[in-house]
Amino acid sequence: PTTSKMAASVREKQTVALKRMLNFNAPPLKNTAAEPVWKVLIYDRFGQDIISPLLSVKELRDMGITLHLLLHSDRDPIPDVPAIYFVMPTEENIDRICQDLRNQLYESYYLNFISAISRSKLEDIASAALAANAVSQVTKVFDQYLNFITLEDDMFILCHQNKELISYHAINRPDIQDTDMDAIMDTIVDSLFCFFVTLGAVPIIRCPRGNAAEMVAVKLDKKLRENLRDARNSLFTGDSMAAGQFSFQRPLFVLADRNVDMATPLHHTWTYQALIHDVLDFHLNRVMMEEGAGAEPSPAGARPKKKSRKTYDLTAADKFWQKHKGSPFPEVAESVQEELDTYRAQEDEVKRLKSIMGLEGEDEGAISMLSDNTAKLTSAVSSLPELLEKKRLIDLHTNVATAVLDHIKSRKLDVYFEYEEKLMSKSTLDKSLLDIISDPDAGTPEDKMRLFLIYYITTQQAPTEVRAHETELNGTDKVHRLVFNQQIDKAFTKMASTPANYGNSGVKPMGLFSRVMNTGSQFVMEGVKNLVLKQHNLPVTRILDNLMEMKSHPETDDYRYFDPKMLRGSESSIPRNKNPFQEAIVFVVGGGNYIEYQNLVDYTKSKQGKKVVYGCSELFNSAQFIKQVRAADCSDMMLL
């Protein structure tokens, strides 16, 4: 029992907290045949982003929620129903709540604030409630401390709405003021604080010196310390701590700055989840694709086929996804085919029963056969919903994987991936950079830009030599080239002090034209290399490894050490704890991506009994990252 308690991931804890909130802040009963109680749920966009990866609409309905509406939308009065609010305690939200109270929209109000509400705003609500004579209707007011979004059992981000306020660009732009930086740091620390409250543990904090990560660490340490000292209101006592007390170790919290590794956000990738994030529109575990994007040309004169948008949710219940989200892409394609075959076999079983039932009453053996077949029929019928669900998931992954494969084929992403892996591991290159860049079929100009940047970051060549190559860039105009130069300089200044070593990686191609599938399958990967990955550690993973295993390394030796539970201000860099940590949380200030996440997952798998959670202030794919880096330079750029 204790081990299962300890193993509750942050996703489960957040889900449990939400379910409790949706049950009028009382623990939900196990009794399934209980009377239904209905309610409406009102959230703002922050609340929506937190809830949607964790609870589906069906689950909300099963909990009795008849309507779920945005706070700032037109809402009709439904006077005989209780309303549960889940919003951030901002000025406009409070105003709208007061308006709702004045308009007597609902029967009773359960106000839940995503992060702590200030006393003055609470008084604003109180006075509005008094004015509307609705004080008795405000049944409960709670601070939920859930101001972060959990996407996986071991991954979380800070926010999705308004993420430009704490983006890489916002933190690293040259014209940033101290007050702006303070505000950004406060936002980040508030979310991290909520994270640790939900986790129910006080971590030991390690961070590098001289960058945004250090600022976050200092503020977080201060906030945790203040809360622990306040014995009356401390959030780290009680039931949630009981689990933590069984482990004699506290988790390690490693803060890293995005600038320590600028190549990984640009890297092309080969694993399923990271690919989807790179080439398709994927956020909050939802993929949005356009379907019917005609491969067939429309007949002359006919109106162009309308493209319908389809969205797919990739959830924890999707077993195929959970198993293969970190797998290399050819493996995924193979597995989808396998699943399809298994499904077809099961479908045929069910169809066969139909013909067997036709033998009824024809011979004496019919009765005994009947009993077997009735049992078979019963099991077939009861397994039908499961079968249908399986079919739906197979269709989903077929569509998604096909879309990804189309991108890979048209942009030759496998070539890029292979070359970048070689660059990052400093192995011998069989082609020159120019060959790939000047190939008009391989990749968009953006792909080429990414490759170039990784080349220069890893080879550390002087920018002046490199500019000679710019004439090779096809299809780029003068503006692009200028931006490109800016980016080389920028990447260079960032990398000048900390040359990142990408470790030894190896890529073994398994034959240029290997066909992974047999004919008749959709995933004919002709011309796509079947690459096998060797495990290597990206910079963030390496930093974690050093700190978690208490290894000495010049990179991490002068990291600062904070322990909020210590009585005196702990300024020492000497860690008190000599044992390796069992649990760690890595957080990248300035943004992260799925490649880093996958690398950490692979690292954790290789270590028995260790748990690592990955977090970042925002998730971006390469396109979005390049945009942010460009935006930082826009002020310097002279328009031609």
Partner: protein, 271 residues
């Protein structure tokens, strides 16, 4: 871990009240009365709650008598706890009538809810409420059908174990033979009855699915009828257009011929 701020809120209310009193703002109670009165009274919620209370009553009733209903009854236990079959039949009948009434009530509420409201949010809310009540009713019905299935199986089992009371020595062997023959027959019948119960359950499931499909087929039917109408109208329109086109062409032709004749005439006139 969530923190309860309700007490803090109540304290804030007191603070605001005292502050307002000090400033001199007060809220008259008559205004409050008006506020309360202007809230529209809807009969939906109390009716829905009534249906739920009834279903809960049924659930409690079934659970209360479940043990007695299901018990096989041994020779040791007293007759007080044993339920006669007629009592069981009575329970079955009452439960069925009750379930039917509840189902009717839900349907009626649904019709009422559709008609009275204009707001789509309230409509959606009421639809979802009725879905929740239906699910609850289904759960309770399942309780009933489970214990009924057990009862049927036990009845058949019991009949098998029943031994005739009076046997004379001469006929004993004959009777033994008959009994064993009967038992084997009853064995088969028991199997079949068991299967029939299963099949009836499957039937229920199928009927449910078919009914679900009925609504979809209805809507498809509507769409097809609509589409046929549209196509017919389209054909008419095309015919009209062709006619107009033809008519238009005739006029153009006439005009051109007239023009050429007038040209010829003018030319002849001139020369």
């Amino acid at each position: 871990m969530a923190v309860d701020r309700t007490l803090l809120f109540k304290a804030s209310v007191k603070t605001v009240k005292t502050r307002n009193k000090a400033i001199g703002i007060g809220f008259d109670s008559t205004k409050d009365e008006i506020f309360k009165r202007t809230r529209p009274k809807s009969g939906f919620s109390p009716k829905a709650k009534e249906v739920i209370t009834n279903i809960t009553k049924l659930k409690d009733f079934l659970l209360q008598h479940r043990k007695d209903y299901v018990s096989a009854g041994s020779l040791i236990s007293s007759d007080l706890t044993r339920m006669t079959d007629s009592e069981r039949d009575q329970i079955d009948q009452d439960a069925q009538i009750f379930m039917r009434t509840c189902s009717e009530a839900i349907k009626q509420l649904r019709n009422e809810a559709e008609k009275k409201v204009t707001s789509s949010q309230i409509k959606e809310h009421r639809g979802a409420v009725l879905d929740l009540i239906e699910m609850y009713l289904k759960g309770v019905c399942k309780l009933y059908s489970e214990q009924r299935a057990i009862r049927v199986k036990r009845m058949v089992d019991k009949k098998r174990l029943y031994v005739p009371v009076k046997i004379t020595f001469y006929f004993e062997q004959e009777n033994q033979r008959l009994v064993s023959e009967m038992n084997s027959l009853v064995d088969e019948v028991r199997q079949i009855e068991g299967k029939v119960v299963e099949i009836s359950r499957l039937q229920e499931i199928f009927a449910e699915k078919v009914l679900q499909q009925e609504t979809e087929i209805d809507s498809i039917h509507q769409l097809v009828v609509g589409a046929t109408e549209n196509v017919k109208e389209g054909n008419e329109d095309i015919r009209e257009a062709i006619k107009n086109n033809a008519g238009f062409r005739v006029w153009i032709l006439f005009f051109l011929v007239m023009c050429s004749f007038s040209l010829l005439f003018l030319d002849w006139y001139d020369s």
